[in-house]
């Protein structure tokens, strides 16, 4: 069975995952590819085929009947009037160009749909339809039947609006336009050598420069001034303060020079400065649009529940659920609110919510908490508390969730405080020196110092170095919310780990066989593997992993949901499953699967948590430089194992509630900078409270709590390497500070003498900026190579993981 899963799509050659589409024995990675393949094969160049598609709609099922609810629609739709409605849907399944093609052709499959537009990198589709001709429910059912079930969440995630990104682009465009033209207008002055440019021309060029500089000052540069003023109001000096100071000095001095015809002014350098700084700002806003870093519990809970009413059961939106309602929760569904168990076989997995690794059994009449996942068959619950009042969601009332995490002041901001004061001192001193000699030269010197000391280079080294690091880490599937997180990672002194789902696999376990009687262990395992191979259940997969060389084949196979599997192997009946299923007598409450061969129970499988690969090596590398802690919601059964790999100095705490974890980190933070790694809702508080929170996920597109970075679980072992890269990046930024100071000194030597000419300025500033940019980017790149990051290997791997390779590169965020 594991071999079949590695096939490649017949149409596009990307590897097929578990949810591949299979038609007539051929495998496709998605229904987009399947449809295109059939169109091409049937020689049909005019795809009226799409109109003829008889899709087996989930018509009889009422999974999506909650979408008929008016208020639900209002929450989901972006726009609605009598004739048009627009819905933006997130569909994680979108991954290839065939998906784009199919989804942009849905207007031919459903008459009410007007058009649709896919954003591949963000995995979003935007569908425009006529609410009179079709309904939201029918559209979603159509998508679902095509294999593109959308992820429905009513809560808007706090991303940058498209309007904000567009403004930045416009500012960049204006600055570039004006800069280029002003530069050209300055050439006569720079290139004239000993001859002077005729006064007429010089004035003309000057006035045109002033005209072009107005949009730069008032439109492109306005955000720098705004941020500087905001920072000063809060008594913080950010890098925007010396930048704004320099820009104002530029402008006033140049205006004076041009209007009094005493010089060319520095307008072109000014515009060039703004242009480069805006590029830096654009880099700082880069994030991964397809991932969600800001989710809260509402995105975790289902959007709808099945409520039992007098005339049967009905799917309703979650917000309509009230205490006293009775609901049905099926296998693998979440319990949406605190409730009492009324009927059914409840085996609930709370690992995502409390960290306990073993599912709990409940008796009828017991209280069950929201957030657990039912692993048995359908149960009936009576709601006791509103969704927002449940034990779990109370966590979100805690302090850290109320305000946005304020970023630690970054290096550039810290330096700019001292820098501004130093520059002002130098300016004032040189002005005072020249004052008794010549007032004009004094003013000249004063403004020149402010101009040449404008920290353009410093302001650029951070975005470029951090942006490069963010990109590299993204290729290794550690996706940072923004480049600033790199700096936070560089300053970490204490690392806290969650256990269940972070250090251990969230679904996979290690199976161990214990023989009771009958066949030998090898024989029994071999037979069991033959049966277990055919089941997709996580426990079956663990059993199947025990015997990779088994060549036995099962002749028949049956899976009984929630209980076990039954198969015939070489004329013997194999049953693997729970105690009731196999008829074993046990008082054990641990997860155990009994093996029954031909009516005799020959042994059982126990399942231990499987630690991810490389954990021991990872801790060995981390121990010398970091303090380590473990906070687990599970019991202390694994304490010795963990002590073994984490070392004697690590602090291990078990049975931690989400609030305990939050408080622990709060206490640590009085002295240290803390990095938290977790995966579930029980870590949500800790991730928020910590200086940097990384959510570890096996599927980065699935739900993760709000965090600063999302890491693919396979890469956890590379954590030491990631942290080293962050440290090196910060070192490179500091080195660039030295270089930019050197440039500043050269410039200052002209400025204090009052001999700073526009030509010198126009040469020095771009030169310093470009050299800093180059050194920042290549420095980080070389450092990564030295640390063992192999970007070519990662690129190759990326394109083989059914993802567009570009999805590992951050882009400007937009809806």
């Amino acid at each position: 069975m594991s071999n079949a899963k590695r096939t490649s799509c017949v149409q596009c050659d990307l590897p097929c995952r578990e949810d591949a589409v299979a038609i007539d024995g051929q495998h496709f990675c998605c229904s987009g590819c399947a449809t295109i393949y059939r169109i091409i094969n049937e020689g049909d160049t005019n795809p009226a085929y799409l109109e003829d598609i008889q899709l087996s709609r989930a018509g009889s099922s009422d999974t999506y009947s909650f979408l008929d609810d008016e208020e639900m629609q209002l929450q989901l739709l972006s726009y609605r009037d009598d004739n048009h409605a627009l819905i933006n849907l997130s569909i994680p399944r979108i991954h290839c160009s065939s998906c784009v093609w199919l989804l942009e052709n849905v207007y031919r499959m459903e008459t009410g749909i007007i058009s649709s537009n896919v954003q591949l990198m963000r995995r979003k589709v935007s569908i425009r339809y006529n609410p009179k001709a079709t309904s939201l429910r029918r559209i979603i059912e159509l998508l679902s039947s095509l294999g593109y079930a959308p992820e429905l969440t009513p809560v808007d995630q706090k991303q940058r609006t498209p309007a904000q990104n567009r403004t930045l682009l416009l500012q960049l465009g204006v600055a570039g336009f004006c800069f280029g033209n002003m530069m050209l207008l300055s050439f006569p002055e720079y290139l004239s050598g000993t001859e002077n440019v005729s006064a007429n021309f010089r004035n003309f060029f000057g006035y045109v420069s002033i005209f072009l500089s107005l949009p730069v000052l008032f439109f492109s540069a306005k955000d720098f001034f705004r941020r500087a003023v905001n920072g000063l109001r809060h008594r913080r000096i950010t890098i925007d303060v010396p930048l704004s100071l320099g820009m104002i000095a530029f402008y006033i001095r140049s205006l004076y020079d041009i209007l009094t015809a005493s010089g060319m002014g520095f307008m072109d350098s000014f515009a060039g400065l703004v242009f480069l700084l805006l590029i830096g700002r654009w880099l700082q806003e880069r994030t991964y649009g397809a991932l969600a870093f800001e989710r809260d519990y509402q995105s975790f809970f289902p959007i709808s529940v099945t409520r039992i009413e007098q005339d049967g059961s009905k799917t309703i939106p979650l917000f309509r659920l009230k205490p006293g309602d009775r609901i049905l929760v099926r296998q693998n569904e979440l319990i949406p609110a605190d409730a009492v168990l009324m009927a059914g076989d409840a085996k609930i997995d709370f690992s995502f919510v409390t960290g306990e690794s073993a599912p709990q059994r409940y008796e009828v009449g017991a209280h069950v908490y929201a957030g657990g996942r039912q692993t048995g068959t359908t149960i009936e619950l009576q709601i006791t508390r509103e969704v927002s009042q449940s034990y779990l969601t109370q966590l979100w009332n805690e302090q850290p969730f109320r305000q946005p995490k304020h970023p630690l002041s970054n290096f550039a901001d810290r330096v700019s405080g001292i820098f501004t004061i130093a520059i002002l001192l130098i300016a004032i001193v040189s002005a005072l020196y020249w004052l008794p000699i010549d007032v004009v030269i004094a003013l000249n010197a004063f403004s020149s110092v402010l101009i040449i000391a404008c920290p353009c280079a410093l302001a650029l080294s951070s975005p470029f170095a951090l942006g490069q690091a963010q990109r590299l880490l993204g290729q290794y599937r550690l996706f940072l919310k923004n480049p600033g997180v790199v700096e936070t990672l560089a300053g970490i002194s204490h690392i806290v780990f969650d256990k269940t789902g972070t250090l251990t696999h969230s679904k996979e376990t290690k199976a161990e066989y214990q023989r009771i009687c009958g066949e030998t262990a090898e024989e029994a395992i071999s037979l069991a593997v033959a049966a277990a191979k055919l089941s997709a259940h996580p426990l079956s997969r663990s059993i199947a992993a025990l015997g990779s060389s088994s060549i036995r084949e099962a002749m028949s196979f049956e899976e009984i949901a929630g209980n076990g599997i039954k198969a015939r192997v070489e004329k013997r009946t194999i049953r693997i499953g729970s105690a009731e299923f196999t008829g074993a007598k046990t008082s054990n409450s641990e997860t155990v699967s009994y093996l029954k061969i031909d009516n005799q129970i020959v042994g059982y499988f126990t399942f231990r948590q499987a630690y991810r690969t490389g954990m021991r090596g990872m801790f060995n590398l981390l121990l010398p430089s970091y303090s380590l802690s473990l906070l687990s919601g599970d019991n202390a059964a694994e304490e010795t194992n963990l002590r073994n790999i984490m070392g004697g100095a690590a602090a291990l705490h078990f049975m931690q509630s989400p609030k305990d974890k939050l408080n622990y980190i709060g206490r640590l933070q009085e002295n240290e900078s803390v990095l938290m790694l977790g995966d579930g809702l029980n870590d949500a508080g800790a991730l928020k409270q910590s200086s940097c929170g990384i959510a570890v996920a096996e599927d980065v597109h699935s739900f993760v709590p709000a965090c600063d970075a999302i890491m693919n679980a396979d890469e956890l072992q590379s954590l030491p390497k990631f942290l080293k890269l962050a440290k090196h990046t910060l070192t490179i930024i500091k080195m660039n500070l030295g270089i930019s100071l050197a440039y500043n000194l050269v410039g200052l030597s002209f400025a204090i003498q009052g001999t700073l000419s526009p030509l010198i300025c126009a040469v020095l500033m771009p030169l310093s900026s470009i050299s800093v940019i180059f050194l920042a980017s290549s420095g980080v790149h070389l450092s990564a190579k030295y640390l063992g990051f192999d970007s070519e290997k990662m690129q190759a791997q990326a394109s083989s993981i059914s993802e567009p390779a570009k999805s590992y590169l951050p882009t400007g965020a937009a809806a």
Partner: protein, 74 residues
């Protein structure tokens, strides 16, 4: 040589038109997604029967674009 006054003014006006075109392109959403259009160029043209629904494409676009701006500037 004094014709340079006129030339520079005309040059600026002309390039200003390009800047205006840039503004229009950004406002039209062409810079929101720079990857998917590269895939779309490979698709076949849509058959003409399908697009003549209630409103024309551009009318819907401007309507929804304005609405989106209002919604997201909250």
């Amino acid at each position: 040589m004094s014709v340079i006054f006129l030339l520079i003014i005309i040059g600026l006006l002309f390039s200003g038109c390009f800047l205006a075109a840039f503004f229009w392109a950004v406002g039209n959403g062409q810079y929101d997604d720079d990857y998917t259009p590269s895939i779309r160029i490979l698709f076949d043209d849509k058959p003409s029967t399908a697009s003549t629904k209630d409103l024309s494409h551009t009318e819907i676009e401007t309507k929804t674009a304005t609405r989106i701006n209002i919604v997201t500037e909250d």
